[in-house]
């Protein structure tokens, strides 16, 4: 079985939201992941 997640997220810097407004994945292909662990921020 497989789960596919599709979502909108901020993609460039914004004066209102500081330098952290970019969405970044914190995982990569081949990683093992468990429920509740961060996919991205």
């Amino acid at each position: 079985s497989t789960v596919v997640l599709v979502f909108q997220a901020p993609t460039i810097k914004s004066p209102n939201r500081g330098d952290n407004s970019n969405f970044r994945f914190c995982i990569k292909r081949g990683d093992k992941i468990r429920v509740g662990e961060g996919l991205g921020r």
Binding site: V4, V6, F7, Q8, R17, F25, R34, V35, E37
Partner: protein, 348 residues
């Protein structure tokens, strides 16, 4: 052993199950080794249809899946349960210490397969800016969707369309006109034209969208594909706080979803039976597709327990529109908190 003389019925079924588990394990080890060797050599596996994949199309995989579900629903005697489940765990690398109940309390393999976990086994990252994994598994693909007809790569050399996977969005009224503007440099549509377009035609033709206020960030459309191995925890949780607005059920085929299938069967993900949940989170659109496979054919939703998947059908037409349900109250839907249980994959 009963009065009708069915003395060896259960041991026979158990033996068949154990033999099947052994065969699956051997096959898995062989495939894993091949893939590992290829990875070590830096080879990316390319899409290559083969005769075996064509043959799979001829098999009644949905019936096979339901028979598998029936077989795994057979109740084991209490003394036998720990042995069967330990064998399963050894074959598929499950962590039995996480199981919420003692092994003797799972009456069948099917029940054991969708076991819940002890409290605290899966701590949730509650950072409000963090999107968490909805399942245990292996990350197959991650990235940002770009360009017209956004696609996700199934395997090198073959990609599938996201809109085909998720279906047409039906909650356009939820997207305020002011929230959806195409990126600068492209001509903007008039409000009337915008309302005629579906959400997908706006977002996938130009996935980066932004608000009229320049202080708001440009939004991208991202994706993540996670594969659950047979030994993994098979319940699905909410990745963020969000409002689920629509559920779609696509009654499709039930091809296997293993590594071999991804590189030999075209359109694997959107030909298979799946349930799609679609809604909004703090950053905009969010959709989650749970795709079934031969051995794990049915998908159960906690938020809609009456939903039945992997049902027998006389005829299966892939052109059929999905069965869709808009959750009440319309425009608000069902609110889910990060980490909430959303559903589960069942055997067969």
């Amino acid at each position: 052993n009963n009065s009708q003389g069915n003395t060896f019925l259960l041991p026979g079924a158990t033996l068949a199950t154990l033999l099947m588990l052994g065969a699956l394990h051997a096959r898995r080890m062989y495939d894993d080794r091949k893939v590992e060797e290829a990875r070590e050599k830096g080879i990316e596996i390319e899409f290559k249809p083969d005769a075996k994949a064509s043959f799979l199309r001829l098999l009644p995989l949905r019936s096979i899946s339901r028979i598998w579900g029936f077989m795994t629903s057979v109740e084991y005697p209490v003394w036998m349960r720990p042995y069967v489940y330990k064998a399963w765990a050894r074959a598929f690398h499950s962590n039995l210490e996480e199981a919420a109940l003692p092994l003797g309390e799972y009456a069948s393999l099917r029940e054991f397969f969708v076991r819940t976990l002890k409290q605290g086994s899966r701590p949730i990252d509650h950072d409000p800016h963090c999107l968490v994994s909805p399942v245990d598994g292996i990350v197959l693909r991650v990235g940002e969707l770009k360009g017209v007809g956004a696609k996700i790569e199934q395997v090198k050399g073959f990609s599938y369309s996201v809109s085909s996977l998720l279906g047409s969005s039906s909650f356009l009224p939820m997207i305020e006109e002011g929230d959806m503007h195409e990126q600068s440099g492209e001509q903007e549509s008039t409000p009337t034209e915008k309302t005629k377009k579906s959400w997908w035609s706006i977002s996938l033709a130009s996935p980066r969208v932004r608000d009229t206020a320049t202080t708001r960030p440009v939004k991208g459309l991202y994706y993540c594909v996670i594969y659950l191995k047979p030994g993994d925890y098979h319940r699905i949780h909410s990745p963020v706080d969000w409002n689920v607005l629509v559920r779609r059920h696509f009654s499709g085929r039930l091809f296997p979803l293993n590594e071999r299938a991804t590189r030999t069967i075209r359109n694997l993900y959107f030909e298979n039976e799946r349930v799609v949940l679609e809604g909004m989170w703090q950053e905009g659109y969010l959709a989650m597709a749970a795709v079934g496979a031969t051995n794990i054919g049915s998908i159960e939703l906690v938020i809609e327990p009456e939903l039945r998947t992997n049902q027998p059908r006389k005829k299966l037409l892939h052109s059929e529109p999905p069965e869709e349900r808009v959750y009440e109250p319309q425009g608000v839907g069902m609110m889910l908190k990060k980490g909430d249980e959303v559903g589960a994959f069942n055997m067969g």
